[in-house]
Symmetry: C2
Subunit: 330 residues, 2 copies
DNA sequence: TTTTTGTGTCAAAACGATTTGACAAAATTT
DNA sequence: AAATTTTGTCAAATCGTTTTGACACAAAAA
């Protein structure tokens, strides 16, 4: 491996001169500069990143912590993050969720090992704070799309507003009897959306069933179960707001198999704007989350903290965007 | 930041002794060991990863290069990779596709900068070799799910076999007139599947249309276009093999809107086993790719090269698995 | 008892860059 | 012409580990 002294020798200068040519910390005369550049070219010299990291104290690596990388969400966030950090010379290192969850000691060690200049935590399922207590408070850290407690800066979605807008949309489209199929009840996001929807429904004159706490898993079967429960036990709804698009699809198929027409007899709104909601036989009205944007903002704040030691605003709130499709075209 | 000398001082030993306690390269007497351990605990000492990397020449980081991280494929591969490398103390660093594609110099610099101990290249769209010519041949590198030329070790899918099995499945289910909607023609995978399907069709007695080279984009609209073309111009098919599930869905919807029943009048097989193929109104017969497995194997080979300098087998071939669903239940 | 072997520890030399104090030589100001 | 400033370069110190040759001391073998 060719190193800086090799370059210096070939160019007939000292290593420090090579370094100055590379980093521009001191002026170098043009002829010397050229000789050094030539030597670099000739030897194909690449500075050793680890040596640099050691001297500077910065690794140029930002950690990305997600409980489940399979979740498509993470990816759009990642793209947003990368759009910011890659041009600045940073790279993204993936810290697997399980690793993060299972081993406190290692997590702390990792954050403290200087391998990471900072980290972004995205969409964790757990609300368990314990791990983070071990991370030193000055370590640059930000969470995206979920709230990990009052001390950690976060980029979040206005879920209350999303719920409210769903109700508003139903009302404007002429639906009148609200129903609700939410995800697992331990999620703050779910609760906020539910509250927003219910208060919105009240505000816009939709009827609300007494029993408004159907909670199901975030998948197709959850939607099936939710819609069955809604039709069999709650009854008399024509406007169903679902926690996500998988649930919406299950709900729609169940309604159809019960002889109901969507949206004529019953309207459905999903959440997340999954790819299939756009080409499902009945295309699905849904909320798009600005995940790319969230990643971008998170990355900008993080960089600003790492590079300039600026504090990250404790909370940044973005809005989801309603995308109207057939499932609510009354 | 507390360092090894601080620990040494507190424990009343030399830094090398602390190092030996940590790494076990030399025997240390039990009482000394205990004192050192105690000091480490007390000071909350975490070794500096960069200093370590510099000394050892290994960063403990493996690069993951994917053209499009949004693509769900990458994620299952990543999970497989992680299942192997995380227990061994490695971490995964994303190298964004665009970065890889656009800037030759940087790519090379990156591979050579010792920031990465090795890299996995997954599912690139381009067939462009140029970037890799700049990577030194001894750099541990392996590609997953695509072939980047004769010199790079690869884990690939037996696409020919997949095509062949699709034909076999159609024949066994009583379909008789084969049709084909493939992805963009520049993909080797597409071509292999096509050849396998056509030869399989011949072998199992399916009729093959003269015009068997419909190529469309890999999405829903591609499927719509493909099926229209098939019905309008090729005609007389009852068994359509699609390049992926998005195309299959578009094809199915188009067939249905033309008054055909799936699978009674026309059977459809997709590829990739996307989540929605399992709950689409007509569930879709598809091929599952062993992506997790591929990632796992790639990671094992890579580690073996990084740690033990064992050469990576130039080619490892895995098979896809047919999952039968309603779209071919004749 | 003397020699050999084995244990446990240390001091010093890497690893490969960046930073800083020093100092000629050249350019500018008095 | 002397004093001052600027410019360009270098030598040496530093970042925080790991590794290795040396050595003291204890235990075992001669």
């Amino acid at each position: 491996m060719v190193k800086i002294t090799d370059v210096a020798k070939l160019a007939g200068v000292s290593p420090s001169t090579v370094s100055h040519v590379l980093n521009g910390k001191r002026p170098i005369s043009e002829p010397t500069r050229q000789r050094v550049l030539q030597a670099i070219e000739e030897l194909n010299y690449i500075p050793n990143a680890n040596a640099r990291a050691m001297k500077s104290g910065l690794s140029g690596i930002i950690g990305f912590i997600a409980t489940d990388i399979t979740e498509l969400f993470s990816n759009r966030i990642i793209q947003g993050v990368e759009s910011v950090i890659v041009p600045s010379g940073f790279h993204l290192l993936f810290v697997s969720g399980t690793e993060f969850k299972t081993n406190l000691g290692d997590t702390m060690a990792f954050m403290n090992s200087r391998k990471l200049d900072g980290a972004i935590i995205a969409q964790s399922i757990t609300q368990d704070h314990r791990n983070l207590e071990f991370v030193p408070p000055e370590f640059p850290l930000i969470t995206v799309n979920f709230d990990f407690g009052p001390h950690l800066p976060r980029i979040i979605l206005d879920n209350y507003k999303g719920g409210w807008e769903a109700a508003e949309h139903f009302a404007r489209k002429g639906f009148s009897r609200a129903g609700l199929i939410m995800g697992p009840s331990n999620r703050i996001a779910s609760n906020d959306r539910q509250t927003g929807f219910l208060e919105g429904a009240k505000n816009f004159g939709l009827t609300i069933p007494q029993r408004n706490f159907i909670h199901v898993p975030f998948d197709f079967q959850g939607g099936v179960k939710g819609m069955e429960e809604l039709l069999d036990e709650v009854g008399n709804v024509d406007a169903v707001f679902c926690a996500n698009d998988y649930i919406a699809v299950g709900a729609i198929q169940t309604a159809i198999s019960r002889g109901l027409r969507v949206p004529e007899d019953i309207g459905v709104i999903g959440f997340d704007n999954r790819d299939f909601s756009e080409f499902w036989p009945t295309t699905i009205t849904s909320f798009d989350q600005p995940l790319y944007e969230m990643g971008k903002i998170a990355a900008q704040y993080l960089e600003d903290k790492i590079l300039n030691h600026h504090e990250i605003p404790i909370q940044t709130v973005l809005s989801s965007r309603l995308i109207e499709r057939e499932s609510t075209r009354h």
